[in-house]
């Protein structure tokens, strides 16, 4: 709640008389109510253990996990000071079904975002709960950020109380009870970034450090470079981060993409490096996970104005794990292939399909998906989906194929109110494989969304 207090203070500052004219007051945003239900099939290991090729798990009673989510997202401006706005995104959650708790359903309330922002000239000042998106991933914090823009250059500085990755509370609070060896204190996040726009493209350099509140240790210290360049025929994007704590390069990528044949083709090639990132507050990072390097190629073809096809493929090689080989070496390569297309069969009918094949350490997936969408009217759309997949999990379950289908509809009930609802079924054909437990699953979901306020040029103000 402290972030809300900060937010309130920031809003109160709007009452301070200002000599510059302000925009008239306005609010826009949305409120959404979602309910999802998934049929879960928990298992329990066979008490006495099992031999290879015999059932190792016993299916338990089916449970229905149901989660309700209520979101309210608002941005207000015209608060008496020109350039001042306030953004707030609140979320409430509740588990509505059986004892099977939807992940984080017991975390009943979150202020996902809550900040006041003031833009004046080349300055942007933000105060409250906010989120950074960069080559280092998402980092949320309660604090302040200042950005200064001057022509092609931009500099940013930020500092505040760090919030756990993907959560909206300090790690020591959010993960209490579900994670071991947590520090007692929260952490502070601070850092800065410099960005520049050049004739050929844009580049960004960022440094970010996270320390425990009592300064007894470092949670992370990383830097990243991200760049994008548009050459006459090729767009290049690149990113690479450096982990000061582990003294290694983290994730990185270099991608070149180019339109060809008057834009009817777009091809791209990438080189990628992936290393998992762990906070230094956990022991995982000191277990020295290795990277994998991957080459990827993609191509998209607009065959006609109604038909588009795409294909992508990648091959990856894991680094040397420097572990003792027992019996046989673990697989250290993987590859993936995806292909798909979209066909506008008729002005109101579109067909999308995709095939996905993946094979690497840990898992194998062979799947095909198809969606037929019918635009019944300006306000109503209906989608029919079908799916089939086969997966082999190297370390747990056996073989099998699953078939499924679903039906969903979306409707603009009014210019401000939209409804999304659907359901799907999945049936697992075990093909006599006694090892696997069934993955049969039914799922249903509905979302009601209300647009608040509006802006010129936007239909119903539904854009988020």
């Amino acid at each position: 709640m402290r972030c809300l207090a900060v937010f309130a203070v920031a809003l109160a500052s709007a009452a301070v008389p200002c000599r510059v004219a302000a925009q008239s007051f306005g609010v826009r945003g949305w409120a959404g109510t979602s309910v999802q239900a998934v049929e879960m099939r928990p298992v329990a290991p066979v008490a006495d253990g099992c031999a290879v090729g015999t059932p190792c798990f016993l299916p338990l009673a089916e449970e229905l996990a149901v989660a309700g989510t209520q979101d309210v997202s608002l941005t207000a401006w015209g608060l008496g000071v020109r350039g001042l706005s306030a953004t707030l995104h609140l979320r409430a959650r509740a588990g509505l079904g059986s004892d099977f708790a939807w992940p984080r359903a017991d975390d009943h309330f979150d202020a996902l975002l809550g900040y006041a922002q003031w833009v004046h000239g080349g300055w942007l000042v933000r105060l409250g709960r906010q989120e950074l998106r960069s080559g280092l991933g998402f980092s949320a914090f309660d604090g302040g950020a200042v950005t200064w823009r001057q022509r092609a250059w931009e500099a940013e500085g930020f500092a505040g109380r760090s919030l756990a990755r993907g959560l909206r509370r300090p790690a020591n609070e959010a993960l209490a009870g579900i994670e071991d060896f947590l520090p007692d204190e929260s952490a502070y996040l601070f850092g800065g970034a410099v960005r520049g726009r050049f004739t050929l493209g844009t580049a960004s350099l960022r440094y970010q450090r996270e320390i425990l509140a009592d300064r007894s240790g470092l949670a992370s210290e990383r830097a990243s470079f991200d760049g994008s360049a548009v050459l006459p025929r090729v767009r290049l994007t690149a990113g690479l981060d450096w982990d000061f704590g582990r003294r290694i390069f983290g994730k990185g990528h270099l991608t070149a993409s180019a339109p060809m044949a008057d834009g009817r083709w777009i091809v791209s090639a990438s080189a990628k490096r992936y290393v998992p990132y762990f906070s230094m507050s956990t022991i995982w990072g000191f277990f020295e996970p290795v990277s994998y390097h991957e080459v990827l190629a993609r191509a998209g073809w607009s065959a006609t104005s109604d038909v588009g096809l795409w294909v992508s493929g990648g091959w990856r090689q894991y680094g040397d794990t420097r572990t003792t080989v027992v019996v046989e070496a673990m697989r250290d390569t993987g590859w993936r292939l995806e292909a798909g297309g979209a066909w506008t069969v008729a002005p109101t009918w579109t067909l999308n399909g995709a095939y996905h094949l993946e094979w690497g350490p840990g898992g194998f997936l062979n799947s095909v998906d198809a969606t037929m969408r019918w635009r019944a009217s300006e306000r109503v759309g209906v989608s029919l989906t079908g799916t089939s997949f086969q997966q082999v999990e190297q370390y747990r379950l056996g073989d099998g194929r699953a078939y499924g289908g679903g039906l969903s509809m979306d409707a603009d009930v009014t210019s401000r109110l939209s409804l999304l609802a659907g359901g799907s079924m999945l049936r697992h054909d075990r093909r006599g494989d006694g090892v696997a437990s069934p993955w049969n699953q039914a799922r249903a979901w509905t979302t009601l969304r209300l647009a608040i306020g509006g802006e010129a040029g936007r239909t119903g103000g539904m854009r988020r």
């Binding site: 925009q23 945003g29 959404g32 999802q36 928990p42 066979v46 099992c50 290879v52 798990f57 997202s73 941005t75 401006w77 992940p103 996902l112 833009v119 004046h120 998106r133 960069s134 080559g135 991933g137 998402f138 990755r165 993907g166 579900i178 994670e179 071991d180 960005r195 960004s204 240790g217 994008s228 704590g245 003294r247 994730k251 777009i266 791209s268 507050s281 956990t282 022991i283 000191f286 277990f287 020295e288 996970p289 290795v290 994998y292 588009g308 794990t321 019996v327 673990m330 993946e358 350490p361 840990g362 898992g363 799916t387 997949f389 997966q391 747990r396 699953q441 010129a456 040029g457 988020r464």
Partner: protein, 480 residues
């Protein structure tokens, strides 16, 4: 035929438009013309009725209708209904007194009224409504071969008053023929602006300011104020607004960086209202946009946009492979059109964003192992993955059960390589304490999980608390 002499250009040129005046007057006449020929024996001179038209600075151009009743009294002559000359629309600039004065200054004799107003070959007082253009040009030569050709010595204002002062009815407005130079291909996009900047009075000859305001958003911008607005009651046609795209806007990067230098939006306000900008820019909009007029406050609609994503967004792999880099490199660009709640809707969404296919829960394993996308971008491993895995019975509760990992009997001896390859997957089921059972100094096997080049001193300096999770004391100092 002699050219106009510049000192008296204006006065002399009025003769040119004398004919135009009458042409205009005739075409707009509302009453039957006065039958001059029937009064030929009654009025010896024109100035008897048209007093002072021969040079008086304050002439009385038309007689009082009451004078007609002197003869047309209903007894000797039938009464007549002529009630005086009605002011007739004209865009011709002509003043009899100034004309006479000009002639006097140049030493030229004042022509007889009939020289311009009567058919020279006809009887006296065969007033036919006024001189034709050729009559004017009998004395005055237009300084261009074509009537519409502009030039410093042939300005429209020499002969014409602004259209706003003409009183032209709608049909006469619509009947005006555009000059040839209006037909050039870039007239709307480029040429007319240059012409107006060079001489807006020329525009005003045929246009009222309302014509400018039908397209131009900011009519206070020069030279538009130089064109007089239509007076109240003047009927105007319905103009269609036309906004050709300037060449500058076709530059590839224009959409990504069109902020005017120094925030000066005066050029933008030719075509754009705030509303144009807000088709894409989020509220609160940048200062520069606030300086533009709002659509509700101006006549012109301004350019209306449908929100169109930039070129980058149309790439087939934008969502899966491109957008993260762009967001990292230039978050300000994203913020032009998206609030951060837009990101949250997918990255921390209640699964209504449609990011994963509907059956993803059932088949996310391969994607998770391969890390084609970074799960941790949106999901905290312990709170999201492990919480569900534990409830589903997929995660270990303490020491490993025999059924896990395909029931491989020697899995424990082989797991190191897999752990280093996909430690995030391990962490989605296992707690740190699971590992410490064997790897910790108090564990069963005290297996060192660090690589040979592990820098223990550095690790201790950076995060001693984490070291103690396995070592119970300073591993550097104690050698544990």
């Amino acid at each position: 035929m002699r050219p106009l002499r510049s000192p008296f250009r204006f006065a002399g040129a009025v003769a040119v438009v004398l004919g135009l005046a009458f042409v205009s007057a005739l075409s707009a006449r509302q009453d039957p013309p006065f039958p001059h020929e029937r009064h030929v024996g009654l009025f010896p001179v024109c100035t008897g009725c048209h007093q002072g038209m021969d040079g008086d600075p304050a002439p009385v151009a038309f007689p009082d209708p009451s004078g007609c009743a002197g003869c047309h009294d209903g007894v000797d002559r039938a009464r007549v209904s002529w009630d005086g000359r009605v002011e007739r629309p004209s865009n011709v600039r002509f003043d009899h007194g100034a004309h006479a004065a000009g002639l006097a200054r140049s030493g030229d004799p004042l022509p007889e009224c009939a020289a311009c107003h009567s058919d020279p070959a006809g009887p006296r007082m065969s007033v036919d409504g006024g001189p034709q253009l050729a009559t004017c040009w009998g004395c005055h030569a237009h300084q261009r071969d074509e009537h519409f050709t502009p030039g410093p010595d042939a300005e429209c204002t020499v002969c014409h008053v602004p259209m706003a002062n003409s009183g032209f009815p709608l049909e006469r407005l619509l009947a005006l023929e555009p000059p040839p130079d209006h037909g050039v291909s870039d007239f709307v996009s480029e040429a007319h602006g240059d012409m107006a900047a060079a001489d807006a009075t020329r525009c005003a000859t045929c246009h009222v300011q309302d014509r400018c305001a039908s397209c131009h958003v900011d009519v206070s911008r020069e030279p538009i104020p130089s064109v007089a607005p239509a007076p109240p009651g003047m009927q105007l046609p319905e103009w269609e607004s036309e906004y050709p795209k300037p060449g500058t806007h076709d530059v590839r990067a224009f959409q990504g960086g069109h902020a005017p230098e120094g925030g000066d939006v005066s050029q933008c306000s030719t075509c754009h209202t705030q509303d144009s900008c807000m088709s894409c820019h989020l509220q609160p909009v940048p200062d520069a946009i606030v300086d533009l007029p709002a659509r509700a406050d101006v006549v012109a609609p301004g350019v209306e946009f449908d929100m169109a994503p930039p070129e980058t967004h149309g790439a087939p792999f934008f969502l899966s492979a491109m957008h993260m880099n762009l967001a990292a490199v230039d978050p300000g660009s994203c913020a032009t059109c998206h609030t951060e709640t837009f990101c949250v809707a997918c990255h921390d969404g209640p699964s209504d964003g449609g990011y994963h296919p509907a059956s993803f829960v059932s088949r996310h394993q391969a994607d998770a192992w391969g890390r084609s996308q970074e799960c941790a971008t949106c999901h905290e491993t312990a709170a999201f993955c492990r919480e569900c895995h534990e409830q589903s019975g997929f995660a270990s509760q303490g020491r490993l059960g025999a059924g896990y990992h395909d029931a491989e009997p020697i899995w424990l001896l082989r797991h190191g390589a897999t752990a280093r390859q996909s430690l995030e997957s391990c962490a989605s089921c296992h707690r740190q304490s699971d590992c410490v059972q064997c790897h910790g100094t108090l564990g069963a096997f005290r297996v060192n999980p660090h690589a040979a080049d592990f820098d223990a001193e550095r690790a201790w300096a950076q995060s001693p608390r984490t070291c103690i999770a396995c070592h119970t004391s300073n591993p550097v100092g104690s050698g544990a």
